[in-house]
C-alpha cells in the first residue's frame, strides 16, 4: 500500500468537498474492491475519504411501493432485512449471494454501484428494476447510469446517497458463479411490472451490465421461461478468456435468463 491521507468526514457535503479538493481523491465506501487494490499497489490515491462516519447514508425504508436503501447499507443488512424480504425479495436474495460473509458485512450498496464492476451483482438489480440512483446532486435513472466497464454517469465529487427501487414482486436474480472469483460469471435479474419487463445481465459482457432487449421484447408477449428457449445474445459482445469462450457465456446468458424468468414468474 502506498501512503495516503485518510479523511473521515461527518457529512456528505464535507466528503464531496474533500474529494473535490484532493489531487487524486477516492471515496471509501466499504472498500471491498478498493482496499485489495491498494494492498496490491495497483492504485495510489493521495487522499482516501471514508464515508463510514457520515450519518443517514445507511438504512432501509419503504414508502408506498418504493424501497429506498442508503448508499452505505451493507449487503448483509439488505440480505437480512425483513422490509426488503417482504417488499422486494429478489433484492434480498441477490444481496445474500454477493461475495462471502466478510464482503457482505463490509461492502455497501453505493460502493458496489459506483464501482460498476462488470461482474458485480447490484448493477444487475438496479438495471433490472429500473432503480433510481440518488446522489448529492441529482437523481439518475439506472438506464442512464451504467456507462461501461467501471464507468458510470457520476461526475467528480458526486456521491451516491441512496437508491430507490420499485418494490416488484415478480422479480428474481439468478447467478452462475465464476469458478475462481465467485463473482457472477453470468448473473441475470429479471423483473415484470405492469408497465415494464426488464432482463439485466451482469458478468458476461465486455461492456459490463446490460439490458438484454431482445429477450425483453420476447417476454412482453409471454413472461415465461419457455419464451427464451434457444435464445442467447450475440457471442461477439461477450467476454472470452481462459474461463470460458464468448459462445459459452452467450449460451449461459440464455440459460440463466430463462431460469431467472421462471423464478420471477413463479414469485
Amino acid at each position: 500500500m502506498f501512503a495516503f491521507t485518510y479523511h473521515r468526514p461527518s457529512s456528505v457535503r464535507r466528503a464531496a468537498a474533500l474529494v473535490a479538493s484532493a489531487e487524486d481523491g477516492k471515496l471509501l465506501a466499504g472498500g471491498q474492491t478498493l482496499l485489495p487494490t491498494l494492498k496490491l499497489r495497483l492504485a495510489a490515491p493521495g487522499d482516501l475519504v471514508d464515508l463510514g462516519a457520515v450519518p443517514d447514508l445507511s438504512g432501509i425504508s419503504l414508502a408506498g411501493r418504493t424501497l429506498t436503501i442508503g448508499a452505505m447499507t451493507r449487503h448483509a443488512e439488505v440480505a437480512a432485512s425483513p422490509v426488503v424480504r417482504a417488499a422486494l425479495p429478489a433484492l434480498a436474495d441477490l444481496a445474500a449471494v454477493i461475495g462471502d460473509p466478510q464482503v457482505r458485512n463490509r461492502g455497501t450498496l453505493g460502493g458496489s454501484v459506483a464501482n460498476n464492476d462488470p461482474s458485480a451483482d447490484y448493477p444487475a438489480a438496479c438495471l433490472g428494476l429500473g432503480a433510481t440512483i440518488i446522489t448529492n446532486q441529482r437523481r439518475i435513472e439506472a438506464d442512464d447510469f451504467f456507462l461501461g466497464l467501471f464507468e458510470t454517469a457520476l461526475e467528480p465529487g458526486e456521491i451516491i446517497t441512496r437508491i430507490a427501487f420499485p418494490a416488484v414482486k415478480k422479480a428474481a436474480y439468478v447467478k452462475f458463479r465464476h469458478p475462481a472469483s465467485r463473482f457472477a460469471m453470468v448473473g441475470v435479474f429479471a423483473a415484470k411490472r405492469t408497465s415494464d419487463i426488464r432482463v439485466a445481465v451482469t458478468g458476461a459482457s465486455q461492456n459490463g451490465v446490460f439490458r438484454w432487449q431482445e429477450a425483453e421484447q420476447a417476454l412482453r408477449r409471454r413472461f415465461a421461461g419457455k419464451t427464451l428457449d434457444g435464445m442467447s445474445p450475440p457471442a461477439d459482445d461477450m467476454v472470452s478468456d481462459i474461463h470460458g469462450s464468448g459462445e459459452y457465456r452467450a449460451h449461459l446468458v440464455g440459460v440463466i435468463a430463462r431460469r431467472a424468468v421462471e423464478a420471477a414468474a413463479d414469485a
Binding site: 469458478p179 475462481a180 472469483s181 481462459i242 474461463h243 470460458g244 459459452y248
Partner: protein, 788 residues
C-alpha cells in the same frame, strides 16, 4: 487420568493453540532490530540482464542494502541444488541448469529473483525495489511444454533441446512383445494439469547472524529443517552445519511445497551477515503463486494391451514432464521414481515400459505436490482401466477384479515389491457403501431432472513411507530416508518426544503422543512432541510422502523399546527381582506371577535419583534415541467411487456422492486419518474440476491470484462416505502404511471417470470446469441420456 490407545479418535492436542490464535508461525516471530526483505522479481519469462542500477534505490528512505547476483558471487555462494541424480537412457547424468538464489546473467521465469531490497520497513523496501533500474534484453519465452524441445530458444544456454534428461523404466522389448500379442489396445492422450499448491500460510523466513559465535539461525517455513540445514551448509555454503540452526516453527500447510530449499530463505540467511541484522521475509499470496514450486504438468500417451479375455498383457507410457526453469530440490525424482514405479497400479501387469522426458520451460520450477508423481501415475492407469473396460464392454469393476494382484508379496515389472493388500476387499466394500447397485435408479432420477449422472472408480495404490536408504540411494537420492527420534523421560515421569518428522497440519503432536501414551501407560497430556528445530532434535529427514507414521513413528517405537528395556533393568533392582521376570503393562512394572509392582513414574524418578541401582552397570537417566530405516516402501491402497451429476445446460458438475475405502494398515487416530483423506479428496477434486495454472505464450502467469485460480471450497464437496479395510503393513513395527496423500491420488481419475461415464465421451480434460464440459458436449454431440 487415563491412557489413550492406538486407534482412538482423540481430539488434537495442538488445536487449542491454533484455534485460540496462539500458534507461532515464522511471521509471528519478531527479532530485535529485524529488517525487512523484499524481492525484486523478473517481470519477464526470459531475459538476459544487461545491467542492474541500484543507485537511486539505495538512496531511498529506510533502505539498508540491496543485493544482487553480483554480491552472491562475491561471497562465493553455491547454487540451489536438485538432490536426486537421474542418469539418462545413455547413462549420462541429468543436465542441471545453474540455479543461483539471485539471478546472475539471465532470468528464466516471471517471478525469478533479480535482487533483494532490505529496509527498515517493508513498504520502504517495496518503494526502493520499484526504483531499481534493470536493463533487460528480453528473450522469447519457452512457455509451452509440448513444443519446448523443438524451440530454438534455450532456457539454459548450455542445455540443448531444453532437455534435462530422457529416462526410462521397465522392459521395452517385453512390452513390445505384449503389444504384438494383444487382442485389444486402449490408447489415451492425457494432460495432467499444472497446479499451484497454495498452502494457507505463505512461505516466510528470518535469517539472523550472531557475530559473537559466527553462527546463523534461520527460521523458515520448512517441512524438513534438517534437510534445509544440510543443503544450505553442504551445497550453498552459507555456514558449516554446526554453525547453522534451522527452526521450522508452526507451519501452516505445505503439501510438498515447503520441502524445497528456495532462494528466499537462502538469501535471508546469507544477507543477515552482510547487513548485520536479522532479515525477515514473508511472501504474499501473489509471490506464492509466482514462485512456490508448482505441481504435476505432464503430457502423456498411454497404451494398455489386453488379451481376448480382458487380461492385461502390457502397459506402455510416454510422458513429457515440465520441470520449469530450474530443477527444484527433489524435482527430478517426481516424474521418474515416484511416478513410473506406480504405473502398475493394483494390477498384475506382466510387462511395463515408461519413457519420460524432463523438459525445461520458462515457468516456475515444478516439484512435489501432494502425491508427487503418484497422482499422475494413478491417473494414467485408472483412466486406462475405465476406458478399456468400456471399450471391451465389460463392467469397470469386474475388469479391475479380473486384473487385481491377488498374491503377496508381488513384484511388479517396475521396481516395486508390494508387500500386502486386499484390493478386492476395498473395492467390494466401497461398492456396497456407494450402493453401486442402485446407480441405475439414481441415473434415471437425475435424467428426469434434466441432469446427466455418472459413476467413476479409482482403485489407487501409492508407495509411501519413503524409504530404505540403500534402495533410494541406488536410484539416485542424495540422502538416506530414515528417520530419527529421541524419547526423553523426565524424572517426574512425563515424556518429551523429539522427532525429525515435522508437523504442519498432520496432527503429530496428537498421534505421536498417543503412541507413547499407549506404550508407556501414561496420560496423553503427559507427553509433549518436540519437532522442527535442528538444535533440539538430533536429526531428521522431515515430513513428505506420507512417511511420518510409517518411518517417523517407527523410530519412536525403536527408542521406546530401548527406554522400556532400560526401565525394566532399573525396575528389577527396585523390585529385587531378575530382569527376565519383569513384565511391563499398562504403566506398571510387575514381577511375573506376583503382585509386586512399581509404576512408570517411580521408575523414571529412580532412574534419575540413581540411589537404588549400581551406576557401574546401569547409567543414570532415562533417555534414548534411535534411527529407523525402513525395509520397504509401504503400499496404502483402496477404492474411491465418485458419483457426479452434470447440468447439461451450464456444464456444471456437482459431486453427488463420494465413497472412500482405504487400507492404511493400522490406524493410530481415525479422526485425524479421515481428516487427511477429506483434505486429500478436496485437493484431488480441485485438480479434476477447478485448478489449473495457466501461462500465456509470453510466459506470463495468467492465473496469478484467486480471482483466476479456482480452489475447491466446502460447498463444492459432499459429505464423504468413508470406510476402512486393513491389511497390516509387515515392514514396520506398528503396521502403518500412511494416509496423507491417498485422497489427492485417488480423486482425479474417480471424478473424470464419472464425468466421462455421464457424458459418454472420453475426451474430457482436467480441470473439467463448466465451460470445458459444455465445450466437450458441444463438440461430441448432444448427450442423449438426458432425454431418456
Amino acid at each position: 487420568m487415563t491412557v489413550t490407545r492406538i486407534g482412538e479418535a482423540v481430539r488434537r492436542k495442538e488445536d487449542h493453540r491454533f484455534i485460540t490464535g496462539k500458534g507461532q508461525y515464522t511471521d509471528d516471530i519478531f527479532r530485535p532490530r529485524q529488517a525487512h526483505a523484499y524481492f525484486l522479481r523478473s517481470p519477464h519469462a526470459h531475459a538476459r540482464i544487461r545491467s542492474i542500477d541500484t543507485a537511486e534505490a539505495l538512496a531511498m528512505p529506510g533502505v539498508v542494502a540491496i543485493l544482487t547476483g553480483k554480491e552472491l558471487a562475491e561471497d562465493k555462494l553455491g547454487d540451489l541444488i536438485c538432490g536426486w541424480m537421474i542418469h539418462d537412457i545413455h547413462g549420462q547424468p541429468m543436465k542441471m541448469g545453474s540455479h543461483p538464489a539471485l539471478a546472475k546473467e539471465k532470468v528464466r521465469y516471471v517471478g525469478d529473483h533479480v535482487a533483494v531490497v532490505i529496509a527498515e520497513q517493508l513498504d520502504q523496501a517495496k518503494d526502493a525495489a520499484a526504483a531499481i533500474a534493470v536493463d533487460y534484453d528480453v528473450l522469447p519465452a519457452v512457455a509451452e511444454l509440448a513444443g519446448a524441445t523443438d524451440s530454438a530458444t534455450l532456457v539454459h544456454d548450455e542445455i540443448p533441446g531444453n532437455l534435462a534428461f530422457e529416462w526410462h523404466l521397465g522392459d521395452a522389448a517385453a512390452t513390445e512383445r505384449a503389444f504384438a500379442e494383444a487382442r485389444h489396445v486402449t490408447t489415451l492422450e492425457i494432460v495432467n494439469n499444472r497446479l499451484i499448491p497454495n498452502a494457507m500460510e505463505p512461505r516466510a523466513a528470518i535469517g539472523e547472524y550472531d557475530s559473537g559465535n559466527d553462527a546463523y539461525t534461520l527460521w523458515t517455513t520448512s517441512q524438513n529443517p534438517h534437510v534445509a540445514r544440510l543443503v544450505l551448509s553442504a551445497f550453498v555454503g552459507i555456514a558449516p552445519e554446526h554453525k547453522l540452526r534451522v527452526i521450522a516453527p508452526d507451519v501452516g500447510g505445505g503439501f510438498g511445497s515447503k520441502i524445497f530449499i528456495y532462494a528466499e530463505e537462502t538469501v535471508c540467511a546469507w544477507a543477515s551477515k552482510r547487513v548485520g541484522r536479522p532479515v525477515k521475509w514473508t511472501g504474499d499470496r501473489s509471490e506464492a503463486f509466482l514462485s512456490d514450486a508448482h505441481g504435476r504438468d505432464h503430457i502423456t500417451t498411454a497404451e494398455l494391451a489386453m488379451d481376448e479375455r480382458g487380461k492385461i498383457l502390457g502397459l506402455r507410457v510416454k510422458t513429457r514432464a515440465n520441470m520449469g526453469a530450474y530443477l527444484s530440490t527433489f524435482a527430478s525424482s517426481i516424474p521418474t521414481y515416484l511416478y513410473a514405479p506406480l504405473l502398475s497400479g493394483q494390477y498384475d501387469i506382466p510387462a511395463i515400459h515408461a519413457a519420460v522426458e524432463a523438459v525445461y520451460t520458462t515457468t516456475a520450477p515444478v516439484d512435489a505436490y501432494r502425491g508427487a508423481g503418484r497422482p499422475e501415475a494413478t491417473f494414467v492407469i485408472e483412466r486406462l482401466m475405465e476406458v478399456a473396460a468400456r471399450e471391451l464392454g465389460v463392467d469397470p469393476a469386474d475388469f479391475r477384479k479380473r486384473n487385481f494382484v491377488r498374491k503377496f508379496p508381488h513384484q511388479t515389472p517396475v521396481i516395486m515389491a508390494y508387500d500386502t493388500g486386499d484390493y478386492r476387499a476395498s473395492l467390494d466394500k466401497a461398492m456396497k457403501i456407494a450402493d453401486v447397485k442402485g446407480f441405475g435408479r439414481r441415473r434415471r432420477h437425475s435424467a428426469r431432472q434434466g441432469k446427466l449422472r455418472g459413476l467413476g472408480y479409482s482403485c489407487y495404490i501409492e508407495a509411501c513411507g519413503i524409504a530404505p536408504s540403500q534402495a533410494v540411494g541406488s536410484l539416485g537420492a542424495g540422502v538416506g530416508l530414515w528417520e530419527s527420534a529421541e524419547v526423553r523421560v523426565n524424572p517426574t515421569g512425563n515424556v518429551e518426544i523429539l522427532t525429525g518428522s515435522h508437523s504442519h497440519g498432520q496432527g503429530h503432536e496428537t498421534t505421536f503422543a498417543q503412541l507413547v501414551s499407549d506404550r508407556l501407560g501414561i496420560p496423553i497430556e503427559q507427553v509433549t512432541v518436540v519437532h522442527g528445530d535442528t538444535d533440539k532434535v538430533q536429526f531428521g529427514m522431515g515430513t513428505y510422502g506420507s512417511r511420518s507414521g510409517a518411518v517417523g513413528m517407527s523410530a519412536i517405537v525403536k527408542a521406546l523399546d530401548k527406554v522400556e528395556a532400560k526401565a525394566k533393568k532399573i525396575a528389577s533392582h527396585l523390585l529385587e527381582a531378575s530382569v527376565a521376570d519383569i513384565e511391563f503393562r499398562d504403566g506398571q512394572f510387575t514381577v511375573a506371577g506376583t503382585d509386586r509392582s512399581i509404576d512408570f513414574a517411580s521408575v523414571a524418578l529412580n532412574a534419575y535419583v540413581a540411589h537404588k541401582f549400581p551406576t557401574s552397570e546401569i547409567e543414570p537417566g532415562l533417555k534414548e534415541g534411535a534411527f529407523y530405516d525402513p525395509v520397504n516402501f509401504t503400499f496404502p491402497a483402496g477404492t474411491h467411487i465418485c458419483e457426479v451429476e452434470i447440468d447439461p445446460e451450464t456444464g456444471k458438475t456437482t459431486i453427488a456422492s463420494w465413497t472412500a475405502v482405504d487400507d492404511f494398515g493400522v490406524v493410530i487416530n481415525p479422526m485425524i486419518v479421515e481428516g487427511q483423506v477429506h483434505g486429500g479428496i478436496a485437493q484431488g477434486v480441485g485438480q479434476a474440476l477447478m485448478e489449473a495454472a495457466s501461462y500465456d505464450r509470453d510466459g506470463q502467469l495468467v492465473t496469478g491470484s484467486f480471482m483466476d485460480y479456482a480452489m475447491p471450497r466446502a460447498e463444492d464437496l459432499p459429505s464423504f462416505q468413508m470406510g476402512f479395510t486393513q491389511t497390516r503393513c509387515p515392514s514396520n513395527p506398528l503396521g502403518i502404511k500412511g494416509c496423507g496423500e491417498a485422497g489427492a491420488i485417488a480423486a482425479p481419475p474417480a471424478v473424470i471417470n464419472a464425468i466421462t461415464d455421464a457424458l459418454g465421451t472420453e475426451a474430457v480434460p482436467m480441470p473439467a470446469t463448466p465451460s470445458t464440459v459444455w465445450e466437450v458436449m458441444r463438440a461430441f454431440g448432444p448427450a442423449a441420456r438426458a432425454a431418456e
